[in-house]
Structures are given as structure tokens and as C-alpha cells.
Symmetry: C2
Subunit: 330 residues, 2 copies
DNA sequence: GTATAATGTGTAAGCGCTTACAATATGTGT
DNA sequence: ACACATATTGTAAGCGCTTACACATTATAC
């Protein structure tokens, strides 16, 4: 039988309430009493049962992270950040691989609430807006990442995709490029990256040739690369709105015997591919996913702790200069 | 105010106990009563508070996974498997990135116990044997992965590294190789892989040249590759006990203008490197980490559910044939 | 119809902790 | 020494659920 607060109280000759106060660092305890109780706690090896305390305080010190899949490196980075700051706050982090199915999400959320989980971080691209809105209305603590549900009263950890696109443009401009290709697909986030890129280039009175990819993976990149090569006036720089697109483009270009970065500079977006994993490390806009996770957890913790109204944090992307960009050769 | 079992009881005109029985699918309820209560539960939208029930049943339906870091792809695979089967059992999975510090592990374990977590899966290479032994003695449900604490009464999900090494040998033998190099470092698990390899080769009255690497990463592989090239009688096949070693060897060999697999066949071990991530997909022994995770969670669940005494499961490695092995050219 | 065994339901005592409120002790100023 | 404010501690009522036990209702057997 585990030792309870009751055992401590009896052994130390005080009431339950006093022991509870000592555990919770209440200021209303005489110093000498505190010491005596503390000594008993240690001697008996008493460990407060947090399930019992959760029943009265309604705080389990547990938060959950909903992601499509932990095996996705971006998700893993987020999870790392979340778990890390959660641990700093004495919180633990429950991981839920919800895939892309809204029903699974709803099912998880339901169980999490029943288990008394204090708050949830949504880091799923395709969550059900209704679910989030409903939770928000019942003022259940939430943090949304990277995607928005406008009407909801929730915390948000946002990326600045437009700034990322601008960063890419700036880098290429500084290298002296004057002709640009933009490869992107139609997804909203990617469009935002594209927008930042185009606006920055246009601000210099230069122009961008847009190429729409049929997706955002390597094969779509390969395809775009082939199209690039067939252009009459080949640009000297390409901005692809995902790293995989960039890698596809590079592969296609390599096949045709062109040299990177001599003949073509390529900038990707994401930063999750280990530079060591590539022959030529990719120059890319790094989305600091771990920082996003940390921010998300911190926001959640703040509303949990102080009932503070929801806030939002923007995590800025960074430029990583690899070996795929250089001065234009012409 | 959330609706409680009490509200349901009053509304349905039965006692708390009966509602509880209905929730828990107790057989001692008349069918008509069950229906009436069920209807009330649905009408009122009652959701049982699992914190309260955990207080009496001592079951939170929460399990924890201790890993060095979720950003390590092997850990992510394990976590995926664990979370997946946990979810099937209505369990949730708490992730703890404990790094390599035994103190952090102990700290996590302490908090997990206080929070009433039902069981823990240790998937950390360097855990503290004393900690595991202590928990095992207090018969706290545990599953150990890939590493052992001999005296402990715990579940184990084990890899068969020797069989993996044998698999590699068999593959190369079938291709017709007769001269072999073995590259490994001194870690126990890797030695086991090596043992399986060597024994299988020796069983054919053939011999293996051993090369000790200074570690198990790419640079150690590069180094081993250079040594390989300087051998008078160069073998036609190499078995490296980790994928990173294999990749280093391949890089070194490529540098010297040799062709793989024409001049040299290479087999790695691990299988966590996406084949698409390499120019030439690596032939390797795949350690099915996700299956390991699933097995670990299932074992834990079984002891949780039925108080069954600890068991162990061996997850067999598989051969993945990439492009780095072929028939010997001589 | 009565004794006996199921079967179904209710009562009440927890699970281990928190916390409002009451009670007591201690200190202050006069 | 007395009235009153303040610091400390205790009492007891929960938090929302489970479950042993008692009790009431059948059903079964004779």
C-alpha cells in the first residue's frame, strides 16, 4: 500500500490540510511545522498522488499534441519542442497520430477530454473547423499551429510564410540574379511563400516566371525541372516552395548535365532535410518547427496557468545557405 | 458544469451504482434498465470522467514511452507503433525525450508514477539498470526494448541481431560471393550482428576479414572504406553493422572510382534510411522498429489487462535488397 | 404455496487529495 | 489586561466515480 497524505499527517502529528499545504507550498504554514512535515514526507517516501489531486483541482498537468504522424520529420520536430517545454513546466505530452481523418481527430479529442487532459495543441493541416470552434466555445484551452480557424478564441503559433518567400528572394537578389523561376503548387501556405517571393522581386522591378507544379513532392519537382530546361530564356535562379520540389528540380537539372550552382541557383523551403543527407546541401528557408512547438506549448501553458486570453506568436523563418546557390555565371 | 453520473442517475430514476454498471458494461443490469439509462446518457451528453474513475480503479489508461529523442527516426518509428496499438486499446501514449541522462530518466519515471501512468516502455539504450530493477521489484508494469536487464521481471521486445547478421551473410552467399569484409564497432548489439554474419559464412568454410571501425557513423565508415581499399586481396562483399557505416564505406569507395555493386557489394543494417533518399538504395537488414513498438505496447497492455506475468517477443529482421549488392564480377 | 437460488438494484463507504470555513494561537496597540 | 488584527492549524465537505454488501425481486424447484 502506498503511503498517503493521511499517513504523513498522523506521523507528523498534524492534519491532512497542513500536509497538503506543505506539498503545495502554501505560505500559510509556520516554518517549523513545514520542516517537520517535510522531514516526515521524506522519511516515509511520500509521493503525492496526482490523480487524486487532479480530481479536485481539475488539472492533470497533461497536454496533448495532435499531429498527422510522428514519423513525419516536421511533426517530430514540433513534438520535440512541445514535449521539451511541457517538461519544463512539469507537464507531460500525449502524442496522437490522427492521420488525415477528421473522425479520428474527434475521437481522440473526446477521449482526451474525458481523461482530463488540460489542453490540446492542433498541429494537423486538415482538422475539422467545427471541432475546434466547438472546443473554443466551451473555452477548452487550445493552441493551433500553422493553420487558422478565424472565429475561434484560441492560441495560435503561426509561421510567416510570406517573410520566408521574401528571404529567398533577397538571398538570390544579393547574389546578383536578375531572372527568376518560381515553382509552387496551389496549396494556400505555398502560395503565401510564393507571394512573398514575387513581391520582393517585383519591388526591384524584376520579373518572375511562375511554374505551377502538380504537387509538392519530388516527382512534381522533377517534372517542373524538365519544364524549366525547355524554357527559351532559362532563368539563373529558382525558388521552389518546398524542399522536395527543389530536390526534384535539382535531380532533373543534373540529368541534363547542368551544374548547380554554376548554371542554376536553387532555393527550397522547409529545412527538414539534413544537409549531410545530400551530396550538395540545399539552400533553403528553414521553418523552425521545434521553435514552433515550443511556442505552441508555452502559449497553452500560459492560458492554463493564468487563464489568460488567447494570444498568438509568429515564428520567423530563417535562411540556410547551402551549396545550391551562387552568383549567376552570366 | 459538466454532467455527472449523479445527474444521469436522477434523470433516469436509478441509483449511481446502476449508471456506473451501465457505463462499464456490467452484465448485472436488466436490459430494459440499461436501455433507459443509455438513452438518458445520450440525451444528457454525459461523458464519464476518467480521472475520477482512475482514482478508484487505479487505471488511467495512459502509458509512457521513454526514448532518447523523438527526432531520431528509429525512435519515431517505435513511437508510431506504440501509439498505434495503444490507441487500439483505448490507451494514450505519453512521449518522454530523456536523452542520455539517467537522472532525467529517473525524474520522468517519478512524475509518471505520481500521475498514475499504468506502465512504461523503456526504449532507451542507456537506461539505469537500478531504476528498472527497482520498478520491477515493485511490480510496476514495464516493457524493455532492444536491451536487457537480466534480473528484472519485465516484458521484453527484443531484436534478433544475430539472425540479422546471418540474413546478410546468406544474401551475399546466394549472390556467389566468396570473400568478405566485416566492418563493425565494439558495441554489443553490433557484435551480435557480426557474430551472426561470421558464423553463417564460416559454416560454408569461407572466411571473413574483420575491420574494427572507430564508431558507427558515416565518418567511421569513410575511414573503414579507405582501409578496405588498401587491402592486398580486396574482398567482393562487405557487411557493415550499421547503415551509416555502409554509407561511409560506399562514399569512400566511390571516391576511388570503384563501382558499386560491380566491384563491391555492400550490405548495411538498420533500414531507417529512406531508399529514395539515396542515389543508389542501400541493401540492408531492416529492423522493423514500428513492429517493435507495437509488440512492446501489446506486451505492456497484456500485463496491464490480465496481470499476466512478463513475457518476451522477438521481432525478426528482414532483408531489403537495394542496389548496392550484386554478383561478384570475378 | 414455500424454500432456495438467481438476478437486479440500492446504500454507503471509500479512492487520496483540496479547500472553504471555523477555530485557535499569536501578536499589536493602548 | 483587553480588543482586535493576523498568522496557523484543524474540520469536514466535497471532487466523480467504483464496488462490497445488503436488500428486493424475480425465477426455479419441490
Amino acid at each position: 500500500m502506498r503511503v498517503t497524505i493521511y499517513d504523513v499527517a498522523r506521523d507528523a502529528g498534524v492534519s491532512l490540510a497542513t500536509v497538503s499545504r506543505v506539498i503545495n507550498h502554501s505560505p500559510h504554514v509556520k516554518e517549523s511545522t513545514r520542516r517537520r512535515v517535510q522531514e516526515t514526507i521524506e522519511r516515509l517516501g511520500f509521493q503525492p498522488n496526482l490523480v487524486a489531486s487532479a480530481l479536485t483541482t481539475k488539472r492533470t498537468r497533461l497536454m496533448a499534441l495532435l499531429i498527422p504522424s510522428i514519423t513525419n520529420p516536421a511533426c517530430a520536430q514540433v513534438a520535440w519542442g512541445v514535449e521539451e517545454t511541457a517538461a519544463e513546466m512539469d507537464y507531460n505530452c500525449i502524442i496522437c497520430n490522427v492521420g488525415a481523418d477528421p473522425k479520428r481527430q474527434a475521437h481522440y479529442v473526446n477521449i482526451l477530454i474525458r481523461k482530463g487532459i488540460d489542453g490540446i495543441i492542433f498541429s494537423t493541416p486538415s482538422y475539422d473547423d467545427g471541432l475546434v470552434l466547438d472546443l473554443s466555445r466551451r473555452s477548452y484551452p487550445l493552441t493551433l499551429m500553422a493553420r487558422d480557424v478565424p472565429a475561434a478564441q484560441v492560441n495560435r503559433a503561426l509561421t510567416d510564410d510570406k517573410a520566408g518567400g521574401a528571404l529567398a528572394a533577397q538571398h538570390l537578389l544579393e547574389l546578383g540574379h536578375t531572372s527568376f523561376l518560381l515553382v509552387t503548387s496551389k496549396e494556400e501556405v505555398l502560395q503565401e511563400r510564393a507571394r512573398g517571393f514575387v513581391e520582393t522581386i517585383r519591388a526591384q522591378n524584376l520579373d518572375v516566371i511562375p511554374v505551377e507544379a502538380k504537387g509538392s513532392d519530388i516527382t512534381a519537382g522533377l517534372d517542373a525541372g524538365v519544364r524549366l530546361l525547355s524554357l527559351a530564356n532559362r532563368p539563373t535562379a529558382v525558388f521552389a516552395t518546398t524542399d522536395l520540389l527543389a530536390i526534384g528540380i535539382i535531380a532533373a537539372v543534373h540529368c541534363m548535365g547542368l551544374d548547380i550552382p554554376r548554371d542554376l541557383s536553387v532555393v527550397g523551403y522547409g529545412g527538414l532535410i539534413e544537409p549531410e543527407a545530400m551530396q550538395l546541401p540545399l539552400t533553403t528557408i528553414v521553418q523552425p518547427m521545434r521553435d514552433m512547438g515550443k511556442a505552441a506549448a508555452q502559449l497553452l501553458f500560459d492560458t492554463l496557468q493564468e487563464g489568460r486570453e488567447p494570444r498568438q506568436v509568429v515564428v520567423e523563418p530563417k535562411l540556410y545557405i547551402g551549396g545550391t546557390t551562387g552568383n549567376p555565371s552570366r
